[in-house]
Amino acid sequence: MANRRPAETVMHLSRLGSLHQCRLSFMRQLTRRMAREHWTFSRGVFDINDAGVGHAVYTAQGPDHAYSLVAFSHDLPPEMRSDRVIATAWDATFTLFDGVPTEDDIARLEKNIPLQEAGRVTQSELSVSRANRSVRLWDHFVERLSQGHQPDIEKVEAVGYLMRTTAVYGSGKLGAADREIIANRPEMHAPFQAEMLSVFLTRWFVRDLVNHMAKARGGEKAVPLTSDIAGRLGIGNSTGLGMAPYIINHPVLFNNWMAAREEAIARVRSVAKADDDKIAEFKSVLARSLKSIERWTSEHPIQIDKLAALSQDMDHLQSHLSNTDLSDPTPWGSLMVWAAGALSEEGQELLASLILEPYGELVDDLGATMADETPDAFIIDGTMPVGNVRALIEDTFGWALSLDWSEEQNCAGAWYVSEEKLEPRLGNRFEEPIADFEQPLAPARDAAAAHHDLSQWASEAEVSTFLAKHPEHRHTIRRAQISNRVPYSEIRSNTIAADMLPIDMLRAKLSFFGATHFDPRSDRWVRICMYSGAPYPSELTSANADMWVYPEVTA
């Protein structure tokens, strides 16, 4: 094991909120695998009328299993279109079916998938999702194509997608198959592969639908979207607070993601000498990444500032590289040391992701370590001495022990589940009557409280005796013991501070999906783009399966 960056450096929310996609991202793991294994793709059904209403079925055939996206397309009145989880109707709704659906399956799904949360699915379904059109772009596309013209490329760049998903539910939600049912299939072993596949196929459906609608409007005059513009389009996604607690609620899983990326960074940092082709590859991917940053826009003041800093970082990096010989010993290690003192966290984390790119053979195996295969990490070891538990808490949450947890700035936030949508929300405990409904999503505060009570006990006492007296600390003791097994399980920031930014938690998770162009729409929800630049299923080859995330640079 190479020398990884310590958790106290990596696990702050501000840094987690600056993470970028990398080779290990779940989308790229999926496209690499599908190309390597020569998956085939087919459109079995496209039964959609001129008003855009109907259904379609797209099947991905792997070595042992087939997976089908069943898409339902709707004619949604504009006033009903909302990305919020409170919406009850969408432009399109989807499920990823395990296998190839029969007509009976379709009939059953047609009664349930358009209802989303109000419907039920079965063990044959692996995900349930929905998407709305980008009003700005959709009408423009249909109008232009119907008249025989291609859409305006500047408009494409400004938005990046024709449809954005507003939720992709997997892992047993709404009655779908539990992850355990598919986790042993090699292609579904890495996290979120079913969800990523569903979005990959959704992008294909969206291209077909916009071409279909243009043809319906323009008839003979209409032209299909060029593959160049189609390639630029991703699938947007709006993600809100519902996803934020995930990385707290799955400490081992989130550790595995972070540990895989940190191990990859450490391996590349310790490369003794960089071959010329690796240096060239790094410089090429850096240039392509700059292009991607140019296309990254946001209206949110926080992200505007971060993008300005990132742009400066890239200037610094380029001028530093012009004075640096990457054929010197351990060039990537030196570069990262320089970056830690010279760049913002956005810039440092982008660079960390970029140095991995030339070294697939060194790091790609880590993708297989990102699932959580240790369910028994949940079990508390009651024989652990109280003194050891205290030390574990001090290791992870030492900084939290001296905070005044009654101060408003330190504890204003309270996570709760709303009666209305059964979704996580974040409120202010001093302004709303929510404290009684608080979810256990403040590990630092709870650790400080447990530490206080543990201090009244003899160090050599077994923690089982402590827990018999203090069952209210049970979840905290469990987390402390998990932190003893895995280093990156805990966020080292206060998740209920008055100034905490939930978008940082969202970005941490979404970066591992492989999302780009994070665009916060408030401090609590964010838009992203998925698969922009990727080949469509029928075009997928080993040559284009991986580096699509970086735009091509023309000389």
């Binding site: 009003v135 974040l426 009557p433 069952p471």
Partner: protein
């Protein structure tokens, strides 16, 4: 209606919390309920009966958690749990003890024996709703051929009862929470 085991787990956690258990115990109750369902037992009904009584004396959740926490002591000799309500709910914790020890653990009372290696479960006789004394011991036995259910088909009544308890953990919506809670911010329809 059939539910995924993840749905069972999520519901059980909220219901146990709604019934007044601590978060840590609620987490344990949810894993335990899932384990029972995977064994083909209607864990939802078992949990519903347990939660009707709240965290009181003879509560199998409290006893079960302690059994798992003190699993190491089982190798020194059998443990008497005394009176236990819904002793089926102790089974998942015996299974956790078995997995920690790498041994087979048995629950016994006058009318039944239940044996588990943590993965498979063999029950002979009938576990009553309320036992005067439940004995836990490490035994030597060969359990094989564990088959696990991947869905739960709980009694509708029990599921509804858990839903009612879970409901107690949800904050009533207010205008302020609608406005602020999810952070509307910039337009979401463009």
């Amino acid at each position: 209606m059939s539910f995924s085991l993840n749905e069972v787990e999520a519901m059980a956690k909220r219901a146990a919390r709604g019934a007044g258990h601590t978060w840590g115990q609620a987490e344990e109750a949810s894993k335990a309920t899932r384990w029972l369902c995977a064994q083909g037992v209607d864990g939802v009904s078992v949990l519903a009966e347990v939660l009707k009584h709240g965290p009181s004396q003879g509560c199998p959740l409290g006893l079960g958690v302690a059994l798992s926490d003190e699993a190491a002591a089982l190798v020194e000799g059998p443990k008497q749990l005394g009176r236990v309500r819904q002793p089926e709910m102790v089974l998942p914790f015996a299974a956790m003890a078995a997995r920690q020890l790498g041994k087979v653990v048995q629950l016994s009372c006058d009318t039944a024996k239940a044996t588990t290696d943590g993965c498979a479960l063999l029950v002979t006789g009938t576990l009553p709703d309320d036992v005067e004394n439940l004995t836990i011991s490490v035994v030597t036995a060969d359990l094989h051929g564990a088959t696990h259910a991947t869905r739960a088909i709980p009694s509708t009544e029990a599921w509804s009862f858990l839903s009612e308890l879970a409901h107690l953990t949800y904050a009533p919506a207010t205008e302020e929470s609608r406005r602020l809670g999810a952070g509307a911010g910039l337009s979401d329809n463009d």
